[in-house]
Amino acid sequence: MRPADWAVLIASVISVALYGLWRGRRSDSVDRYLRAERTMPWYAMALSIMATQASAITFISTTGQSYVDGMRFVQFYFGLPLAMILISAFAVPAFHRANVYTAYEYLERRFDAKTRALVSLIFLLQRGLAVGVALSAPAIVLSVILGWPDRWTTLIMGAVVVLYTALGGIQAVTWTDFYQMLIMMAGILVALATAVAMLPDGVSFLDAVAIAGAAGRLNAVVTKFDWNDQFNLWSGLLGGTFLMLAYFGCDQSQVQRYLTGKSVTESRLSLLFNGIAKIPMQFVILFTGAMVFVFFTFTEPPVVFQREALEKARADARYAAVAQRFDERFEERKRAAWDLIVARRGGDESLLRERAAHYRAAHARLEGARKEGLNLAREASGDPGLNDTNHIFLTFVTRHMPAGLVGLIMAAIIAAAMSTISAEINSLATVTVIDVYRRHLKKEASDRHYLLASRMATAAWGAYAIMTAQYAKNLGSLIVVVNQLGSLFYGALLGVFVLAFFFRRVGGTAAFAGVLCGQAAVFAAHLFTKTAFLWYNAIGCVAVVASALLISAAVDRHRG
């Protein structure tokens, strides 16, 4: 990072904090602090929803995913527009009519206090586990790539977020999300433009697209169905719809965004805009990864993108031979790429296909050499699960992008992290105060008292996030486990809301037991089958609805 980069990064972080404090300066009642008095316009909520979902690690790893596996990850978002329609049609009017602060408050109106308490607890557990990881994950990657001490990164990032979120509440969160989303979009467009502009003379944009296509990096739609594959058209449409319904319809960190809308129309428009904008946005991010792949077709990449692991591998006597093979195969693939470009321009279709096959063969040989290097790095670093996908994009940014732009990309990554964390601690505090403290611990107190409690809960969740982030590095691969644990709970949450909206005859006891049965079904699927994670939401949801209906019918028969 050069001085210009630091200037851009520091200016970005300070301006976000000041903007948040200014926007949240009038949060002097619980309603203003937690719900912005329901005055938010659709565009602010829409970008806040998008910013909350886009975490730093998604930003970093999506481009890397495209580099190693192509663009098929975009299919993950095919269910999003469908989910946005269903939430707009059913959840938004129900939540607005009930005039609630949290989605779980609605469950007490519809069922009973114990169902609300159980679902609130599931949310606090799930989000509580994730918030520290959301803060630490980008810090760990930045520490490896740039040498920044990860403890200081999490501390500074966390402190800035806690400052404006605790003082400004939801208004600060929503408007800083809006601003941060603009920074993210600027960052990714600049990265894409730079990757294309830095291709060598003689390689046009269309040549780059042809190379990426020949290497299978533009495989945006895969029509073959496979239960165990998360990224195909069918899992995206069906599994993706369930996941997005659960995340946007039942997770308070998202529901709270559109509960602030000044009308049902504004809230619906914000969700539908999210459904429309997300697919092209993910396309651009993934396409950037594909262009970074083409860039590294002409500029030699490191054998392993994870710098620390590469250093350890270099100390091994076998590394020199691996590196030499990698160099030779890189040159071979580069020549094959130039041959492909010449064939593309010649217009001879059969020659083009022949050169493309030749290029793919050269690419497969280079991948073989890279795999040897990766295995050596795994052995040398004592980490058999070592994966350098998350380091690819940042290696490109820090080693090849010009001064100033590196700072913009870092600002975009940190903005992505901060926007996610601010929404998470804001929603955790809201559920803690509204669904636990005000409901069970102190039922009658002044608005001023609950406002203070909300600020303190926000600060406490922020402090908790910073503290858990300090230890997350030591969790190693457990970070993956914690993330996966989070997705184990969504199906049951979705199921209970489906019951609430569509099965009027089901009562509180059946719903409560249904959530427990659904949760058990998901845990069983996780422990005893190899079903892809994306399907857990559908399994959990169906299990909750089916078991609640059975229990409800049994209770009705018993009553007679």
Partner: protein, 42 residues
């Protein structure tokens, strides 16, 4: 489920039409991405 009094959307006249437009948009996006993948698969 009894719905609230429906506010009309700012365009297309009815929410049902807005939702249909979003479905059409999704279908068109998938078709375009499929073509993009096919054309560039070599």
């Amino acid at each position: 489920m009894k719905g609230p009094v429906e506010e009309p959307p700012p365009f297309l006249g009815a929410w049902r039409r807005v939702y249909a437009a979003v479905v059409v948009y999704l279908a068109a996006s998938i078709a375009l991405l499929y073509l993009f993948a096919r054309v560039n698969s070599l």
